[in-house]
C-alpha cells in the first residue's frame, strides 16, 4: 500500500510548504509596512487574498478535471475534481471569514450584501451542494459524470466573483489591478507574492494528500470486493 518514493515526495512538499508559509507569516508581521489609513488590521489582506486565490485555483482544477472526466471517463479525473473541491471550500471559507473580520473595523459591519460578498456566499453554497449531489447519486460512474458537469457549471462563480468588483458598484476594493482603496508599496507587493506562493504550495500539498486518501478508499473497496467473492 505504501510507496516510499511517494511518501518522501509528500514529506518534502509538506516541509517546503511549511517553511514558505512561516516565511510569509514573518513577512506579514515584520517586513510589510503598517498601512497608513487602516493600520495593522490591513495585514489580514495578505492571507485573505492568498486564500481567495487558492480557492479560485482549486475550483479551476475541478473544472479542468471535470472536462478530463467527460473526455476520458477515467476515475483519476473524478478523484482530482472531488479532492480539489474539498480544499477549495476550506480556502473560500477562510476568505469569507477573514474578509468579515477585516470588514468590521474598516466598513463598520461584518457583512454587507454587496455584489462581491453576495457572490462569495452563493459560491460557497454551490460548492457545498457539490458534495451533497455526490452523496445523493448512486453508482460511481453516474455520480462522477453528474459531478463533472456540476463542477464545470459551478466554475462560472469564479469569473463572476473576480469581475463583480469591476462590473458593479461595490465597496470591496480592487487592489490587484490598481483600483481605489489602498496604496500598495513594493514591500506589500513582495509580502503578497510570498503569501501567494506559500498558499499555492499548501494547496499542492493538501491536494496530494487528499488524492492519496481517495486512492486508499478505492483500494479498500477493491479488497472488500475480492473478499466477498471468496
Amino acid at each position: 500500500m505504501r510507496n516510499p518514493g511517494q511518501d518522501g515526495l509528500g514529506i518534502a512538499l509538506a516541509g517546503l510548504s511549511a517553511v514558505v508559509l512561516f516565511v510569509a507569516l514573518g513577512m506579514v508581521f515584520l517586513y510589510a509596512p503598517r498601512e497608513a489609513t487602516m493600520g495593522d488590521v490591513q495585514r489580514i489582506f495578505y492571507f485573505h487574498v492568498a486564500s481567495a486565490w487558492v480557492g479560485f485555483f482549486a475550483f479551476f482544477v475541478t473544472f479542468l478535471a471535470g472536462v478530463g472526466y467527460l473526455a476520458r471517463g477515467e476515475r483519476q479525473w473524478d478523484i482530482l475534481a472531488l479532492s480539489s473541491v474539498e480544499i477549495g471550500l476550506a480556502f473560500i471559507t477562510m476568505t469569507v471569514v477573514t474578509g468579515s473580520l477585516w470588514a468590521r473595523p474598516v466598513w463598520g459591519a461584518y457583512w454587507t450584501w454587496e455584489p462581491r460578498l453576495t457572490i462569495s456566499a452563493v459560491q460557497l453554497l454551490i460548492y457545498v451542494a457539490y458534495g451533497m449531489l455526490r452523496a445523493a447519486i448512486d453508482g460511481p460512474q453516474r455520480k462522477a459524470r453528474f459531478a463533472a458537469v456540476y463542477g464545470i457549471v459551478a466554475f462560472v462563480t469564479v469569473p463572476l466573483s473576480w469581475f463583480a468588483i469591476r462590473w458593479w458598484r461595490t465597496i470591496h476594493p480592487d487592489i490587484l489591478t490598481g483600483g481605489e482603496g489602498m496604496a500598495i508599496t513594493s514591500r506589500m507587493s513582495h509580502t503578497l507574492l510570498v503569501s501567494l506562493a506559500a498558499f499555492t504550495l499548501l494547496y499542492a500539498n493538501l491536494l496530494w494528500q487528499r488524492v492519496r486518501l481517495e486512492r486508499a478508499a478505492d483500494a479498500l473497496a477493491r479488497l472488500r470486493a475480492r473478499i466477498e467473492t471468496i
Binding site: 500500500m1 488590521v41 489580514i44 477573514t98 477585516w102 473595523p105 494528500q209 479498500l220 472488500r224 473478499i227
Partner: protein, 48 residues
C-alpha cells in the same frame, strides 16, 4: 485605530481551518490504512 483583536482572529481562523483540514485527512488516511491492513491479513489467512 486599535484593531488587533480582528487581525489576530483572522490569523487564528486561518491556522484553525488549516489544522482541521490536515487533521481530518490524516485521521481518514490512518483509518483506511488500518482497514486495508486488516483485510489484507484476512485475505492471506483465507489463502492459507
Amino acid at each position: 485605530m486599535s484593531n488587533l483583536p480582528y487581525l489576530l482572529s483572522a490569523y487564528i481562523v486561518f491556522w484553525a481551518l488549516t489544522f482541521v483540514l490536515v487533521f481530518s485527512i490524516w485521521v481518514r488516511q490512518r483509518r483506511l490504512e488500518r482497514e486495508i491492513a486488516a483485510l489484507q491479513a484476512r485475505l492471506e489467512e483465507e489463502r492459507g
